[in-house]
């Protein structure tokens, strides 16, 4: 590690190419914290959006009509408004109606912080798309399959969990991958509500060290790697789940 730090310090001294995050411990640690926070934000939102998608797609098949209408309204609302406005809505709008609590220093702080609101609104944003994706996957399942499950005594929930969802998931994985990639890119919007994720800490670092091009380069590479890793993992999963004869 010492060698790397020394080399980047040397690079700065000789060429002026200033990657502070590799030799300055303070910048390094806050950048790393930002990176972990982006990972956390992405992981929580991905899991949250999948849960929303699975639950929503199930609710869309309910016999109770008002529930179906509510899910439909939710999908329309979150699909057709900018995610930035959604985050603002939760962070400024909803947060104002919640009580504030005292933290360990005796200062009052909102009950739900920026990170939690970012996770919630990103999960709901991507979840709305996930419901549509799961639903279109379910459309591909022949009615006879569901009738067969019914005739074997499966309830609607059991049919969904054991028959419909496993088949639909395999069909809709490519579309799901697209949406999750989009979600990881959208986590940068948490910047707007002061969540110290990658873009936010990078902004702090380049404000202090005046090294915008270098930090931009690092940011681009990290998001490329993150998205690349996600796509790779999803493709592996797709291959692993593959059932001969199903889908294309």
């Amino acid at each position: 590690m010492g060698n790397i730090a020394a080399w980047f310090s040397h690079l700065n001294d000789t060429t002026g190419i200033n990657f502070t995050i590799f030799y300055d411990p303070f910048d390094g640690s806050r950048f790393l914290n930002g990176f972990w926070l982006t990972l956390e934000l992405s992981a929580i939102s991905i899991i949250g959006s999948l849960l929303v998608g699975i639950a929503g797609a199930f609710a869309q098949g309910a016999t109770f009509a008002p529930l179906r209408w509510m899910v439909a309204a939710y999908i329309q609302l979150f699909r057709n408004t900018p995610p930035l406005v959604q985050i603002f809505f939760f962070y400024f709008g909803v947060s104002a109606f919640l009580p504030s609590v005292k933290n360990s220093l005796g200062m009052s702080q909102p009950l739900v912080g920026g990170l939690a609101w970012a996770c919630i609104s990103l999960s709901l944003f991507a979840g709305a798309f996930n419901i549509e994706i799961f639903r279109s996957g379910m459309e591909a399942i022949p009615a006879a399959t569901i009738e067969a499950a019914e005739s074997l005594g499966f309830t609607r929930a059991k049919t969904y969990i054991h028959v419909v969802l496993p088949l639909a998931l395999r069909v809709c994985l490519p579309a799901l991958t697209n949406n999750l990639v989009n979600l990881v890119k959208t986590t940068t919007l948490a910047y707007a509500v002061a969540v110290p994720e990658l873009l936010y800490v990078s902004n702090q670092i380049w404000s202090d060290s005046d090294n915008v091009p270098e930090m931009m380069l690092v940011l681009f590479i990290i998001y490329m790697v993150l998205v690349g890793f996600l796509v790779f993992a999803m493709h592996r999963w797709e291959r692993w789940l593959r059932v001969p004869g199903l889908g294309t």
């Binding site: 104002a96 591909a140 490519p174 990639v181 986590t187 004869g245 294309t248």
Partner: protein
């Protein structure tokens, strides 16, 4: 047991582009209008200021907000024009027969499709100079123009993908037939394939434009005086009360709805017409 399943058409479309499709219905506009009208009434019932004051604020600031919205539209127009021109070139390179050219175009496309739009905006904000000196000519680069360039880049990559997808959706027999008639490669592309693929490019192109229009609000984060920034300033000037928050931002949403709904409707109409 072997199960044979057909992919539904929605998935075929979704897997060609990473961008979500904007699907607006008339009742969305009605719902937004209800928010604008109902929240001041609710606030009045809860002991707030008279409902007419919130609407009066909206009316008073409409000229300013519309000017801000005009900037959003200008940004979207210019980004789309620049992005389409560059993207068409990039898309042609994506289907080139020369491997080196194809690989370069592919990496550029992947880069700009996978980079977050907000980071591209920041990139342009910080790295473009304040003015360009071309010979003796000095060209000022205001923030909104930098935002145009920042938004044009992801548009370019998506256009390239749309073009490639449309060309690939043309049956290979068309290429073969054109070749057997003695057309050169570029003649095959320009006279046979592109005219057929063009019709399929229009709906995703319009959807991309609708998405781009809503994405112009990102420019408010980097300090461009577009409609969301101005709405925040109006809120500040009027005392920043939470009772004005919903009507004001609802009003901004309504502006975007009025603009994007016809585009969304026309996109669906074209898709339906092409499908049949």
């Amino acid at each position: 047991m072997r199960v044979f399943l057909e992919l539904p058409p929605t998935l075929h479309r979704a897997s060609t582009g990473s961008l979500p499709a904007l699907r607006l219905a008339p009742w969305h506009g009605a719902a937004i209008l209800l928010i604008i009208l109902a929240t001041p009434l609710y606030g009045y019932a809860a002991g707030g200021p008279a409902p007419s004051s919130a609407l009066a604020v909206l009316v008073r600031w409409t000229p300013l907000l519309l000017r801000g919205f005009g900037l959003n539209i200008l940004i979207s127009f210019m980004s789309m024009a620049i992005g389409t021109l560059l993207g068409a070139g990039l898309g042609i390179a994506l289907i080139s027969e020369r491997i080196a050219l194809r690989a370069t175009a592919w990496s550029i496309t992947q880069f700009f499709r996978n980079a977050p739009w907000l980071i591209l905006l920041f990139f342009m904000m910080y790295l473009l100079p304040y003015s360009l000196h071309l010979g003796g000519l000095t060209l000022a680069l205001p923030d909104w123009l930098k935002a145009v360039i920042g938004l044009a880049l992801p548009v370019m990559a998506n256009i390239a993908e749309i073009l490639r997808g449309a060309v690939q959706s043309i049956p290979p027999s068309q290429w073969e037939a054109a070749e057997s008639l003695g057309f050169t490669r570029s003649q095959q592309l320009w006279l046979i394939i592109i005219p057929q693929g063009f019709r399929r490019m229009i709906p995703p192109w319009m959807n991309l434009y609708a998405i781009l229009t809503t994405s112009t609000t990102l420019a408010s984060i980097v300090g461009v005086n577009e409609v969301v920034t101005l709405a925040g300033q109006v809120l500040g000037a009027e005392g920043g009360g939470p009772d004005l928050l919903a009507p004001l931002y609802g009003y901004v949403l309504l502006l975007f709805f009025i603009y994007t709904y016809p585009i969304s409707w026309a996109t669906r109409w074209l898709e339906r017409r092409n499908a049949s």
